[in-house]
């Protein structure tokens, strides 16, 4: 292939455009006078008073910006729903990853509960240590990925249960929020006692929300994984 064909005029122009744009952008940003804000300190101060969470990120994610998290969960749900719609009708998906190996199957059987448990642990300790609902959920889903890889089409995922989890976890998130609002506070406000910093049962509503988030993420990612590596027939079986 000639150079002209690989690097067309359009490509060159695009490259020029992008570099010129970056130059200008950098120019503006670098030249700007920039003032530090005290937001971080303020936030940490408030965190100790209002949430008692050891992980300030969790406070932000589930409490101060709980609504954003609800939005993110929704986006996750939507995206996977959309992928589902896109994949449903494409019948070209034939090649499926799968290793028919006994060793793998046995190993997976042992590992699967551990992975799930680990995921649950990460979720439950979201307000105490790094991690939380999103991370734990993905870990749980990775357990299912392992199962798909090991057992291929013979692994029978109970879709009813899965969708029940999916539905209930998402709904739970919202219902907790509404309950909080009904209990007198704001939506997703804190209605439970804050407890002591560092204990598992502390920080009020935060861990509950993270658990719902975690379950939701786990279910969604599992569905996503299944979409990507199993045919429609196998999924419907």
């Amino acid at each position: 292939m000639s150079l002209k064909k690989t690097v067309g005029l359009k490509t060159i122009l695009t490259a020029l455009l992008i570099s010129f744009m970056s130059m200008l952008l950098l120019g503006v940003i670098m030249n700007a006078a920039y003032t530090h804000t005290s937001l971080g300190y303020d936030l940490l101060k408030i965190n100790t008073i209002s949430t008692q969470s050891a992980n300030a990120v969790t406070s932000v994610v589930t409490y101060f910006r709980g609504l954003d998290t609800l939005g993110e969960v929704t986006i996750l749900f939507l995206s996977i729903f959309g992928i589902g719609i896109g994949i449903e009708r494409s019948d070209r998906m034939k090649t499926i990853l799968g290793y028919d190996s006994t060793l793998l199957k046995i190993g997976t059987k042992v590992l699967f509960p551990l992975i799930v448990l680990f995921g649950l642990y990460i979720i439950a300790h979201g307000h105490l240590s790094p991690g939380g609902g999103f991370q734990g959920g993905v870990i749980i889903a990775s357990g299912f990925l392992l199962m798909f890889l090991a057992y291929g089409d013979s692994y029978d995922l109970d879709h009813k249960v899965l969708s029940l989890f999916e539905a209930l976890s998402g709904a739970g998130f919202i219902l907790v929020g509404i309950l909080a609002a009904l209990a007198g506070g704001a939506f997703l406000g804190n209605m439970l006692p804050l407890g002591v910093l560092g204990k598992l049962f502390s920080s009020g509503i935060l861990p509950i929300i993270y658990i719902f988030v975690g379950l939701k993420v786990a279910a969604e990612i599992t569905v996503l994984v299944e979409y990507f590596i199993r045919t429609q027939d196998a999924r419907d079986a």
Binding site: K10, T14, L17, F20, M21, L24, G27, V28
Partner: protein, 540 residues
């Protein structure tokens, strides 16, 4: 939102509308749509009785689109497109003018509009916009492009409405706006000059186009354009007498066109033919219709004993009083040329030889066709005999728009100090002389022989064969195109101009449409490029 006020001017136009609609109600019509006709009627009432510009505009637009749907039942796509583009365009210029007036005077209500503090440039802009609207509605060249096709292709009854009433809304608005609202002292004289000449040129050109037409309704459509052209010309003189002349001509033209369109409609109804080349020789088949048509064309041509002359006379007098000699000459020229198409109309349908072998089998014309025709004829004859009878009414209108009333000298006399005539004497003398000659003629002791059949004529000493076309209606007026000046008029058409505009927009549309099929990648590039350009401009 809707504000109304009963005015003398409104009363007159609404009265005409009521008469026309009521008389048309009797006419049998295949495409009768009660909803649309009532909408149209309501919109006309809205226009004539509005007391603010918004109400006027609402009426104007409803009139526009209800007429559109009425025409849509019979006209072809191109005609409809022409109709709507011009009429909506006209309405939008009206809206533009209204908005400009609002910006200048801060109100829409007629009585609150005061132009004394408005810069003259703005008044000129308003004037031009309003004139465009009126030109479109009244079919002043070169905005007449929609008129002829719409008139000729709409159903026969609605053509009458279009010509008799709807073209008059332009006249009404002209009087309302330029005599009552903006008033003459704020108007620019050159603009009025241009308007006057546009009006008269329109009538000249339309007259020749009418002479060249082969289709009865198209001929009448062109004639309508020409007649409204006179009205616009005379209105632009902006005097008491000229306003009276315009009002008079409006009344006359309304009834003339009502009569003529329904007359032609009756013929089309019974014969299913609408071209002169396939009509002819119906005189003894439909004598009453023929007489009514003659009444109509005598009035249309503005010949003395009938009402048409009264209005023409006023027009001339008004022009003479203002010493508009050239303008008057042009009006006279157009007026004189009108005889030709008038004759063509009557000859093409009723006189000459029948061209259609089925002529004998044509059914009778239903009596209901005569209601509007007789109404028109009665009014035209009355206005010829006692032309002064409606002067008091006009004086009321003149007074209400702040003009001096013209002198009223009894029902028989019409005119001003410049010139006046006695309609009673004219029609009486004519009638008397006619009757005397008739008596003398009948008393002559000699016998007349009847021709054996229609072909028993002096035909170069031969007897023409039955299959030779002896009807001259089709070719009538053809030789006009041999005359240099007239040939020039006839060969020009605004078609090319508007076609070019249409093509231009079509091409532009094709280009912009291409833009909307960009792929996602290219779209992204466009976005980034746009961002970069703006960023560069901002940073610089």
């Amino acid at each position: 939102m809707f504000n109304f006020e009963i005015t003398a001017l409104g009363n007159m136009f609404f009265g005409l509308t009521v008469l026309v609609f009521v008389s048309l109600f009797f006419v049998p019509n295949k495409h009768r749509s009660v909803t649309l006709y009532s909408l149209l009627f309501a919109s006309l009432a809205c226009i004539f009785y509005a007391s603010d510009l918004i109400t006027l505009f609402i009426g104007w637009e409803i009139m526009g689109w209800s007429s559109y749907f009425l025409i849509a039942k019979t006209a072809d796509k191109q005609t409809l497109q022409k109709y709507i583009v011009f009429n909506i365009g006209g309405a939008f210029t009206l809206l533009g003018a209204i908005i400009l007036i609002y910006g200048a005077c801060g109100s829409f209500v007629y009585s609150e509009l005061d132009f004394s503090a408005v810069p003259s440039g703005q008044v000129t802009a308003i004037t031009i916009l309003l004139l465009l609207t009126l030109f479109v509605k009244s079919g002043i060249m070169p905005f007449h492009y929609w008129v002829v096709d719409s008139y000729s292709q709409s159903n026969d009854l609605f053509s009458a409405v279009l010509s008799a009433i709807i073209s008059k809304t332009g006249v009404f608005a002209f009087i309302l706006i330029f005599f009552q609202i903006i008033t003459v002292q704020y108007l620019q004289t050159p603009i009025l000059e241009v308007v006057a000449w546009l009006g008269v040129l329109t009538s000249i050109i339309a007259t020749f186009k009418a002479i060249n037409e082969d289709e009865a309704k198209r001929l009448l459509a062109y004639s309508s354009i020409a007649q409204v052209g006179y009205i616009v010309t005379i209105l632009s003189i902006m005097g008491s007498l000229s306003l009276e002349a315009a009002l008079y001509h409006t009344v006359i033209h309304t009834f003339v066109k009502l009569l003529l369109f329904i007359n032609v409609a009756a013929i089309i109804y019974v014969s299913k033919q609408h071209r002169f080349s396939t009509l002819g020789g119906l005189l003894y088949k439909y004598p009453l219709n023929f007489i009514l048509l003659v009444v109509g064309i005598i009035s249309l041509a503005g010949m003395p004993p009938l009402g048409g002359f009264s209005s023409k006379f006023l027009i001339y007098t008004a022009l003479l009083e203002e010493h508009k000699g050239l303008l008057l000459a042009a009006v006279l020229f157009s007026s004189a040329s009108a005889f030709l198409y008038c004759y063509k109309l009557v000859y093409g349908i009723y006189l000459g030889q029948p061209t259609n072998p089925k002529t004998e089998a044509y059914p009778r014309i239903p009596l209901r066709f005569y209601v509007p025709q007789i109404l028109g004829a009665v009014i035209l004859i009355t206005l010829g005999t006692i032309p002064g009878v409606i002067v008091p009414m006009f004086n009321g209108i003149l007074g209400s728009v702040g003009f001096e009333p013209v002198l009223y000298r009894g029902v028989f006399v019409l005119g001003s100090d410049f010139a006046s005539f006695n309609g009673g004497v004219v029609i009486g003398a004519f009638g008397l002389i006619f009757v005397l000659i008739l008596l003398f003629f009948v008393r002559l002791k000699n016998r007349s022989v009847k021709p054996k059949d229609r072909l028993d004529i002096s035909y170069c000493g031969e007897v023409p064969r039955a299959d030779v076309n002896l009807h001259y209606g089709y070719g009538m007026g053809r030789e006009l195109s041999r005359i240099g000046l007239i040939k020039m008029i006839l060969s020009r058409s605004s078609h090319a101009l508007w076609q070019r505009v249409s093509t231009l927009f079509g091409d532009l549309s094709g280009i912009t449409q291409k833009l909307y099929t960009l792929s996602a990648q290219n779209m992204g590039l466009v976005i980034f490029a746009f961002f970069t350009i703006l960023l560069y401009m901002g940073v610089k």
